[in-house]
Protein backbone atom coordinates (compact mmCIF):
# COMPACT_ATOMS: atom_id res chain seq x y z
CA UNK A 1 0.00 0.00 0.00
CA UNK A 2 1.00 3.54 -0.61
CA UNK A 3 2.38 5.72 2.12
CA UNK A 4 1.57 9.01 0.41
CA UNK A 5 0.24 11.49 2.96
CA UNK A 6 0.47 14.63 0.93
CA UNK A 7 0.13 15.50 -2.77
CA UNK A 8 1.30 18.82 -4.11
CA UNK A 9 1.84 20.38 -7.54
CA UNK A 10 3.96 23.49 -6.88
CA UNK A 11 3.76 26.31 -9.41
CA UNK A 12 7.22 27.80 -8.84
CA UNK A 13 10.74 26.47 -8.45
CA UNK A 14 11.12 28.23 -5.10
CA UNK A 15 7.97 26.62 -3.71
CA UNK A 16 9.18 23.21 -4.89
CA UNK A 17 12.61 23.43 -3.26
CA UNK A 18 11.07 24.79 -0.04
CA UNK A 19 8.97 21.64 0.07
CA UNK A 20 12.04 19.49 -0.54
CA UNK A 21 13.86 21.30 2.27
CA UNK A 22 10.97 20.48 4.62
CA UNK A 23 11.11 16.72 4.06
CA UNK A 24 11.66 14.00 1.54
CA UNK A 25 9.34 13.79 -1.42
CA UNK A 26 8.85 11.56 -4.42
CA UNK A 27 9.27 13.74 -7.49
CA UNK A 28 6.88 13.15 -10.38
CA UNK A 29 7.58 14.44 -13.89
CA UNK A 30 6.19 12.47 -16.85
CA UNK A 31 5.66 9.38 -14.72
CA UNK A 32 6.80 6.93 -17.43
CA UNK A 33 9.39 5.44 -15.08
CA UNK A 34 7.67 6.15 -11.77
CA UNK A 35 4.32 4.58 -12.64
CA UNK A 36 5.61 1.15 -13.70
CA UNK A 37 8.30 1.15 -10.98
CA UNK A 38 5.82 1.93 -8.21
CA UNK A 39 3.33 -0.63 -9.53
CA UNK A 40 6.02 -3.29 -9.55
CA UNK A 41 6.98 -2.33 -5.98
CA UNK A 42 10.49 -1.36 -7.04
CA UNK A 43 9.98 2.20 -5.81
CA UNK A 44 8.33 3.08 -2.52
CA UNK A 45 6.61 6.44 -2.33
CA UNK A 46 7.88 8.99 0.17
CA UNK A 47 5.24 10.69 2.37
CA UNK A 48 4.92 13.56 -0.13
CA UNK A 49 4.26 13.13 -3.85
CA UNK A 50 5.38 16.28 -5.64
CA UNK A 51 4.25 16.79 -9.23
CA UNK A 52 6.76 19.19 -10.80
CA UNK A 53 5.01 19.58 -14.16
CA UNK A 54 3.45 22.96 -13.28
CA UNK A 55 6.80 24.68 -12.63
CA UNK A 56 7.55 27.15 -15.44
CA UNK A 57 11.26 27.51 -14.52
CA UNK A 58 11.81 23.86 -15.46
CA UNK A 59 10.53 24.35 -18.99
CA UNK A 60 12.05 25.84 -22.11
CA UNK A 61 15.15 25.44 -24.23
CA UNK A 62 17.33 28.55 -24.70
CA UNK A 63 20.82 29.82 -25.39
CA UNK A 64 22.49 31.38 -22.36
CA UNK A 65 25.90 32.80 -23.27
CA UNK A 66 27.94 29.94 -24.67
CA UNK A 67 25.55 27.37 -23.22
CA UNK A 68 22.45 25.61 -24.40
CA UNK A 69 20.13 25.29 -21.41
CA UNK A 70 17.46 22.64 -21.59
CA UNK A 71 14.82 22.67 -18.84
CA UNK A 72 14.38 19.39 -16.98
CA UNK A 73 10.75 19.16 -18.11
CA UNK A 74 11.56 19.18 -21.83
CA UNK A 75 10.00 16.02 -23.24
CA UNK A 76 11.89 13.78 -25.63
CA UNK A 77 9.51 14.93 -28.40
CA UNK A 78 10.27 18.57 -27.58
CA UNK A 79 14.02 17.88 -27.74
CA UNK A 80 13.63 16.31 -31.18
CA UNK A 81 11.58 19.23 -32.49
CA UNK A 82 13.58 22.08 -30.92
CA UNK A 83 15.38 24.18 -33.53
CA UNK A 84 18.20 25.06 -31.08
CA UNK A 85 18.85 21.41 -30.27
CA UNK A 86 18.82 20.39 -33.93
CA UNK A 87 21.22 23.20 -34.83
CA UNK A 88 23.73 22.89 -31.99
CA UNK A 89 23.39 19.34 -30.68
CA UNK A 90 21.72 17.26 -33.40
CA UNK A 91 23.07 14.10 -31.77
CA UNK A 92 20.68 14.64 -28.86
CA UNK A 93 17.71 14.93 -31.21
CA UNK A 94 18.89 11.77 -33.00
CA UNK A 95 19.00 9.86 -29.72
CA UNK A 96 15.32 10.70 -29.30
CA UNK A 97 14.55 9.01 -32.58
CA UNK A 98 15.34 5.60 -31.10
CA UNK A 99 13.63 6.25 -27.79
CA UNK A 100 10.63 4.07 -26.86
CA UNK A 101 7.51 5.10 -28.83
CA UNK A 102 5.74 8.29 -29.88
CA UNK A 103 3.48 8.22 -26.83
CA UNK A 104 6.36 7.77 -24.38
CA UNK A 105 8.49 10.44 -26.11
CA UNK A 106 5.55 12.82 -25.62
CA UNK A 107 5.36 12.14 -21.88
CA UNK A 108 8.91 11.28 -20.79
CA UNK A 109 11.15 14.16 -19.81
CA UNK A 110 14.88 14.76 -20.08
CA UNK A 111 15.08 15.35 -16.30
CA UNK A 112 13.28 12.06 -15.65
CA UNK A 113 15.63 10.17 -17.95
CA UNK A 114 18.64 11.64 -16.13
CA UNK A 115 17.36 11.22 -12.57
CA UNK A 116 16.13 7.70 -13.27
CA UNK A 117 19.82 7.00 -13.95
CA UNK A 118 19.38 3.80 -15.90
CA UNK A 119 22.67 2.60 -17.43
CA UNK A 120 20.63 2.28 -20.64
CA UNK A 121 19.02 5.76 -20.50
CA UNK A 122 19.19 6.94 -24.09
CA UNK A 123 19.86 10.64 -23.54
CA UNK A 124 22.70 10.01 -21.10
CA UNK A 125 25.38 8.86 -23.53
CA UNK A 126 24.84 11.81 -25.92
CA UNK A 127 24.79 14.20 -22.93
CA UNK A 128 28.07 12.74 -21.65
CA UNK A 129 29.86 13.26 -24.97
CA UNK A 130 28.39 16.78 -25.18
CA UNK A 131 30.05 17.53 -21.79
CA UNK A 132 26.68 18.40 -20.26
CA UNK A 133 26.25 19.65 -16.71
CA UNK A 134 23.38 19.10 -14.31
CA UNK A 135 21.93 22.28 -12.78
CA UNK A 136 20.70 21.42 -9.29
CA UNK A 137 18.65 23.82 -7.20
CA UNK A 138 17.91 23.69 -3.48
CA UNK A 139 17.00 26.01 -0.60
CA UNK A 140 19.13 24.76 2.29
CA UNK A 141 18.99 27.64 4.84
CA UNK A 142 16.42 30.02 3.60
CA UNK A 143 18.08 31.07 0.35
CA UNK A 144 18.16 29.54 -3.10
CA UNK A 145 21.31 27.67 -4.05
CA UNK A 146 22.25 26.48 -7.53
CA UNK A 147 25.16 24.17 -8.15
CA UNK A 148 26.29 22.60 -11.38
CA UNK A 149 27.86 19.20 -11.63
CA UNK A 150 29.38 17.62 -14.76
CA UNK A 151 27.10 14.78 -15.79
CA UNK A 152 30.19 12.55 -15.95
CA UNK A 153 30.26 12.78 -12.12
CA UNK A 154 26.51 12.63 -11.58
CA UNK A 155 25.78 8.90 -11.83
CA UNK A 156 26.85 6.59 -9.01
CA UNK A 157 24.94 3.38 -9.80
CA UNK A 158 21.73 2.08 -11.38
CA UNK A 159 19.04 4.51 -10.21
CA UNK A 160 21.54 6.36 -8.03
CA UNK A 161 22.97 9.85 -8.51
CA UNK A 162 24.77 12.61 -6.61
CA UNK A 163 21.52 14.61 -6.41
CA UNK A 164 20.79 15.38 -2.74
CA UNK A 165 17.25 14.65 -1.53
CA UNK A 166 16.64 18.41 -1.08
CA UNK A 167 17.72 19.17 -4.67
CA UNK A 168 15.70 19.41 -7.84
CA UNK A 169 17.28 18.94 -11.24
CA UNK A 170 16.28 22.22 -12.89
CA UNK A 171 18.07 21.95 -16.22
CA UNK A 172 20.91 20.56 -18.24
CA UNK A 173 23.57 22.89 -19.57
CA UNK A 174 25.57 22.00 -22.67
CA UNK A 175 28.52 24.08 -23.88
CA UNK A 176 27.69 25.08 -27.46
CA UNK A 177 29.99 22.89 -29.57
CA UNK A 178 32.65 24.88 -31.49
CA UNK A 179 32.81 24.98 -35.31
CA UNK A 180 34.05 21.72 -36.80
CA UNK A 181 32.40 19.64 -34.10
CA UNK A 182 31.20 16.18 -34.91
CA UNK A 183 28.98 13.91 -32.84
CA UNK A 184 27.48 10.49 -33.32
CA UNK A 185 25.17 8.25 -31.31
CA UNK A 186 24.49 4.60 -31.94
CA UNK A 187 21.98 2.43 -30.07
CA UNK A 188 21.69 -1.28 -30.57
CA UNK A 189 18.50 -3.03 -29.65
CA UNK A 190 16.81 -6.02 -31.22
CA UNK A 191 13.84 -4.15 -32.67
CA UNK A 192 13.40 -0.59 -33.90
CA UNK A 193 10.81 0.63 -31.37
CA UNK A 194 10.19 0.19 -27.63
CA UNK A 195 13.50 -1.45 -27.04
CA UNK A 196 15.94 -0.94 -24.21
CA UNK A 197 19.52 -0.56 -25.46
CA UNK A 198 21.72 -3.67 -25.38
CA UNK A 199 24.59 -1.23 -25.84
CA UNK A 200 24.91 2.36 -26.95
CA UNK A 201 27.91 4.41 -28.00
CA UNK A 202 28.43 8.15 -28.23
CA UNK A 203 31.29 10.00 -29.86
CA UNK A 204 32.02 13.71 -30.10
CA UNK A 205 34.98 15.90 -30.87
CA UNK A 206 36.36 18.50 -33.21
CA UNK A 207 37.53 17.37 -36.63
CA UNK A 208 40.04 19.73 -38.26
CA UNK A 209 42.33 18.89 -41.19
CA UNK A 210 41.46 15.23 -40.74
CA UNK A 211 42.53 15.22 -37.07
CA UNK A 212 40.19 14.54 -34.18
CA UNK A 213 40.66 16.55 -30.98
CA UNK A 214 38.73 17.18 -27.74
CA UNK A 215 37.51 13.62 -28.20
CA UNK A 216 34.78 12.37 -25.93
CA UNK A 217 33.49 8.80 -26.03
CA UNK A 218 30.78 7.28 -23.84
CA UNK A 219 29.09 3.92 -23.53
CA UNK A 220 25.62 2.95 -22.29
CA UNK A 221 24.36 -0.37 -20.91
CA UNK A 222 27.85 -1.83 -20.40
CA UNK A 223 28.34 -0.91 -16.72
CA UNK A 224 26.23 0.06 -13.68
CA UNK A 225 26.23 3.65 -14.97
CA UNK A 226 26.67 5.22 -18.39
CA UNK A 227 30.39 5.94 -18.60
CA UNK A 228 33.09 7.88 -20.43
CA UNK A 229 35.51 5.80 -22.47
CA UNK A 230 38.78 7.41 -21.44
CA UNK A 231 41.04 4.77 -23.04
CA UNK A 232 39.22 5.05 -26.35
CA UNK A 233 39.43 8.85 -26.10
CA UNK A 234 43.18 8.60 -25.59
CA UNK A 235 43.56 6.31 -28.60
CA UNK A 236 41.91 8.98 -30.77
CA UNK A 237 43.02 12.33 -29.32
CA UNK A 238 44.96 14.40 -31.84
CA UNK A 239 45.10 11.57 -34.34
CA UNK A 240 44.24 11.28 -37.99
CA UNK A 241 41.43 8.79 -38.57
CA UNK A 242 43.58 6.27 -40.42
CA UNK A 243 42.54 2.59 -40.53
CA UNK A 244 45.25 1.87 -37.92
CA UNK A 245 43.97 4.53 -35.50
CA UNK A 246 40.41 3.33 -35.96
CA UNK A 247 41.38 -0.30 -35.32
CA UNK A 248 43.32 0.67 -32.19
CA UNK A 249 40.41 2.76 -30.87
CA UNK A 250 37.91 -0.05 -31.47
CA UNK A 251 40.13 -2.45 -29.51
CA UNK A 252 40.54 0.09 -26.72
CA UNK A 253 36.75 0.41 -26.57
CA UNK A 254 36.29 -3.36 -26.36
CA UNK A 255 38.91 -3.72 -23.66
CA UNK A 256 37.85 -0.86 -21.42
CA UNK A 257 34.26 -1.98 -20.91
CA UNK A 258 33.27 -4.71 -18.53
CA UNK A 259 29.64 -5.55 -19.27
CA UNK A 260 27.43 -8.21 -17.71
CA UNK A 261 25.36 -10.89 -19.42
CA UNK A 262 21.62 -10.41 -19.08
CA UNK A 263 18.39 -11.04 -21.00
CA UNK A 264 19.33 -8.49 -23.65
CA UNK A 265 22.82 -9.70 -24.54
CA UNK A 266 25.77 -11.69 -23.25
CA UNK A 267 28.90 -9.92 -22.05
CA UNK A 268 30.84 -11.36 -24.98
CA UNK A 269 28.27 -10.09 -27.48
CA UNK A 270 28.26 -6.64 -25.92
CA UNK A 271 32.05 -6.42 -26.22
CA UNK A 272 31.92 -7.54 -29.86
CA UNK A 273 29.14 -5.03 -30.61
CA UNK A 274 31.05 -2.18 -29.01
CA UNK A 275 34.19 -3.11 -30.93
CA UNK A 276 32.47 -3.40 -34.30
CA UNK A 277 30.19 -0.41 -33.93
CA UNK A 278 32.94 1.89 -32.62
CA UNK A 279 34.91 0.95 -35.71
CA UNK A 280 31.95 1.57 -37.99
CA UNK A 281 31.17 4.95 -36.39
CA UNK A 282 34.77 6.12 -36.78
CA UNK A 283 34.89 4.95 -40.41
CA UNK A 284 31.70 6.86 -41.01
CA UNK A 285 33.18 10.06 -39.48
CA UNK A 286 36.38 9.60 -41.54
CA UNK A 287 34.38 9.14 -44.76
CA UNK A 288 31.94 12.00 -44.10
CA UNK A 289 34.69 14.38 -43.01
CA UNK A 290 32.26 15.98 -40.56
Amino acid sequence: MTAIENYIAPTSLEQAVELLAAGEATILAGGTDLMPQSHAGRVKFKPTLMNIRRIPELKGIALDGGWLRIGALATISELMAAELVRRHCPVLAEAGDHFASGQIRNAGTLGGNICNASPAGDTLVPLLVLDAQAELVSKPNGSLRTRTLPLAQFFTGPGRTRREPNELLAAVRIPVPPPGSIARFYKFGTRPALDISAISIGLAGVLRDGRLSQVRVAFGAVAPTPLRGTATEKALEGKRLTPETIAAAALAARDEINPISDVRASAWYRKELVHNMTKRMLENVAAAGN
Binding site: T2, I4, N6, G30, T32, H39, G102, A193
Partner: protein, 157 residues
Protein backbone atom coordinates in the same frame (compact mmCIF):
# COMPACT_ATOMS: atom_id res chain seq x y z
CA UNK B 1 -6.90 3.68 1.67
CA UNK B 2 -4.79 5.87 -0.57
CA UNK B 3 -4.79 9.60 -0.23
CA UNK B 4 -7.45 11.11 -2.50
CA UNK B 5 -7.25 14.30 -4.49
CA UNK B 6 -9.94 16.27 -6.26
CA UNK B 7 -9.08 17.29 -9.82
CA UNK B 8 -10.82 19.24 -12.59
CA UNK B 9 -10.19 18.82 -16.27
CA UNK B 10 -11.93 18.83 -19.63
CA UNK B 11 -12.86 15.36 -20.82
CA UNK B 12 -13.90 15.23 -24.47
CA UNK B 13 -14.87 18.90 -24.22
CA UNK B 14 -16.91 18.48 -21.03
CA UNK B 15 -15.70 20.04 -17.76
CA UNK B 16 -15.21 17.15 -15.36
CA UNK B 17 -14.49 16.93 -11.64
CA UNK B 18 -13.48 13.72 -9.91
CA UNK B 19 -11.83 12.48 -6.71
CA UNK B 20 -9.03 10.01 -7.35
CA UNK B 21 -6.37 8.19 -5.32
CA UNK B 22 -3.14 10.13 -5.92
CA UNK B 23 -1.32 7.05 -7.20
CA UNK B 24 -4.06 6.03 -9.64
CA UNK B 25 -3.34 5.97 -13.37
CA UNK B 26 -5.33 8.09 -15.79
CA UNK B 27 -6.38 4.82 -17.44
CA UNK B 28 -8.01 3.53 -14.24
CA UNK B 29 -9.62 6.90 -13.71
CA UNK B 30 -11.11 6.99 -17.22
CA UNK B 31 -12.37 3.40 -17.08
CA UNK B 32 -13.45 2.94 -13.49
CA UNK B 33 -14.03 6.39 -12.01
CA UNK B 34 -15.49 8.16 -15.06
CA UNK B 35 -16.83 4.97 -16.66
CA UNK B 36 -15.68 5.43 -20.28
CA UNK B 37 -14.43 2.01 -21.37
CA UNK B 38 -13.35 2.73 -24.97
CA UNK B 39 -9.79 3.26 -23.75
CA UNK B 40 -8.34 -0.23 -23.30
CA UNK B 41 -6.06 -1.82 -20.72
CA UNK B 42 -3.61 -4.06 -22.56
CA UNK B 43 -0.35 -4.25 -20.68
CA UNK B 44 -0.46 -1.48 -18.09
CA UNK B 45 3.19 -0.63 -18.70
CA UNK B 46 3.54 1.43 -21.85
CA UNK B 47 4.28 -1.39 -24.28
CA UNK B 48 1.06 -1.84 -26.27
CA UNK B 49 -0.59 1.55 -26.88
CA UNK B 50 -4.15 0.23 -26.29
CA UNK B 51 -4.63 2.98 -23.68
CA UNK B 52 -3.58 5.90 -25.92
CA UNK B 53 -5.36 9.20 -25.18
CA UNK B 54 -4.69 12.82 -26.08
CA UNK B 55 -3.48 15.10 -23.29
CA UNK B 56 -3.65 18.73 -24.41
CA UNK B 57 -3.74 17.36 -27.96
CA UNK B 58 -0.62 15.21 -27.58
CA UNK B 59 -0.83 11.40 -27.53
CA UNK B 60 0.30 9.59 -24.38
CA UNK B 61 -0.20 6.21 -22.70
CA UNK B 62 -2.95 6.65 -20.10
CA UNK B 63 -1.54 3.70 -18.13
CA UNK B 64 1.72 5.61 -17.45
CA UNK B 65 0.04 8.92 -16.61
CA UNK B 66 -0.86 9.78 -13.03
CA UNK B 67 -4.55 10.71 -12.98
CA UNK B 68 -3.78 13.73 -10.76
CA UNK B 69 -1.64 15.14 -13.58
CA UNK B 70 -4.79 15.59 -15.69
CA UNK B 71 -5.76 18.48 -13.39
CA UNK B 72 -6.35 21.64 -15.42
CA UNK B 73 -5.76 19.92 -18.74
CA UNK B 74 -7.76 18.74 -21.69
CA UNK B 75 -8.16 14.98 -22.15
CA UNK B 76 -9.55 13.34 -25.28
CA UNK B 77 -10.49 9.66 -25.41
CA UNK B 78 -11.75 7.57 -28.32
CA UNK B 79 -15.32 8.55 -27.35
CA UNK B 80 -14.34 12.17 -27.99
CA UNK B 81 -13.45 11.49 -31.63
CA UNK B 82 -17.11 10.81 -32.51
CA UNK B 83 -17.59 14.50 -33.37
CA UNK B 84 -14.12 15.09 -34.75
CA UNK B 85 -13.77 15.31 -38.56
CA UNK B 86 -10.41 13.49 -38.69
CA UNK B 87 -11.72 10.96 -36.18
CA UNK B 88 -14.73 10.26 -38.41
CA UNK B 89 -12.50 9.78 -41.46
CA UNK B 90 -10.34 7.35 -39.51
CA UNK B 91 -13.37 5.41 -38.28
CA UNK B 92 -14.73 5.04 -41.82
CA UNK B 93 -11.32 4.11 -43.24
CA UNK B 94 -10.66 1.47 -40.54
CA UNK B 95 -14.02 -0.17 -41.32
CA UNK B 96 -13.57 -0.03 -45.09
CA UNK B 97 -9.98 -1.26 -45.10
CA UNK B 98 -10.78 -4.20 -42.83
CA UNK B 99 -8.30 -2.86 -40.26
CA UNK B 100 -10.34 -4.19 -37.34
CA UNK B 101 -10.37 -7.84 -36.35
CA UNK B 102 -10.84 -8.42 -32.62
CA UNK B 103 -10.84 -4.64 -32.23
CA UNK B 104 -8.94 -4.50 -28.96
CA UNK B 105 -6.09 -2.39 -30.34
CA UNK B 106 -8.39 -0.22 -32.46
CA UNK B 107 -9.17 2.64 -30.04
CA UNK B 108 -5.46 3.10 -29.33
CA UNK B 109 -4.54 2.80 -33.01
CA UNK B 110 -7.15 5.40 -33.95
CA UNK B 111 -6.03 7.82 -31.21
CA UNK B 112 -2.39 7.53 -32.21
CA UNK B 113 -3.29 7.90 -35.90
CA UNK B 114 -5.34 10.98 -35.01
CA UNK B 115 -2.26 12.49 -33.33
CA UNK B 116 -0.12 11.57 -36.34
CA UNK B 117 -2.49 13.15 -38.87
CA UNK B 118 -2.74 16.33 -36.80
CA UNK B 119 1.04 16.74 -37.04
CA UNK B 120 1.50 15.30 -40.52
CA UNK B 121 -1.66 15.40 -42.69
CA UNK B 122 0.00 13.56 -45.62
CA UNK B 123 2.22 10.86 -44.13
CA UNK B 124 4.07 8.29 -46.24
CA UNK B 125 3.56 4.60 -45.42
CA UNK B 126 6.91 4.62 -43.61
CA UNK B 127 5.83 7.62 -41.56
CA UNK B 128 2.58 5.85 -40.67
CA UNK B 129 4.52 2.76 -39.60
CA UNK B 130 6.84 4.89 -37.45
CA UNK B 131 3.86 6.82 -36.10
CA UNK B 132 2.13 3.71 -34.75
CA UNK B 133 5.31 1.98 -33.55
CA UNK B 134 4.05 2.14 -29.95
CA UNK B 135 0.81 0.31 -30.77
CA UNK B 136 0.66 -3.46 -30.90
CA UNK B 137 -1.92 -5.48 -32.83
CA UNK B 138 -2.00 -9.25 -32.45
CA UNK B 139 -4.53 -9.83 -35.25
CA UNK B 140 -4.16 -7.82 -38.44
CA UNK B 141 -0.46 -7.91 -39.27
CA UNK B 142 -0.64 -4.09 -39.50
CA UNK B 143 -0.88 -3.83 -43.32
CA UNK B 144 -4.57 -2.99 -43.29
CA UNK B 145 -4.12 -0.58 -40.43
CA UNK B 146 -1.51 1.32 -42.44
CA UNK B 147 -3.86 1.16 -45.46
CA UNK B 148 -6.64 2.65 -43.33
CA UNK B 149 -4.55 5.55 -42.03
CA UNK B 150 -3.31 6.30 -45.56
CA UNK B 151 -6.89 6.24 -46.85
CA UNK B 152 -8.08 8.54 -44.06
CA UNK B 153 -5.31 10.98 -44.94
CA UNK B 154 -6.38 11.00 -48.60
CA UNK B 155 -10.12 11.26 -47.86
CA UNK B 156 -11.81 14.57 -48.65
CA UNK B 157 -13.80 16.37 -45.98
Amino acid sequence: MSLQQEIEFTLNGVPTRVRVPVDMSALDMIRSVVGLTGTKYGCGEGECGACTILLDGVSVNACLLFAVDCDGRSVTTIEGLADDPIGQKLEKAFVEAGAVQCGFCTPGMVMQSRALLAKNPNPTREEIQRGIEGNLCRCTGYVKIVDAVAAAARAKE
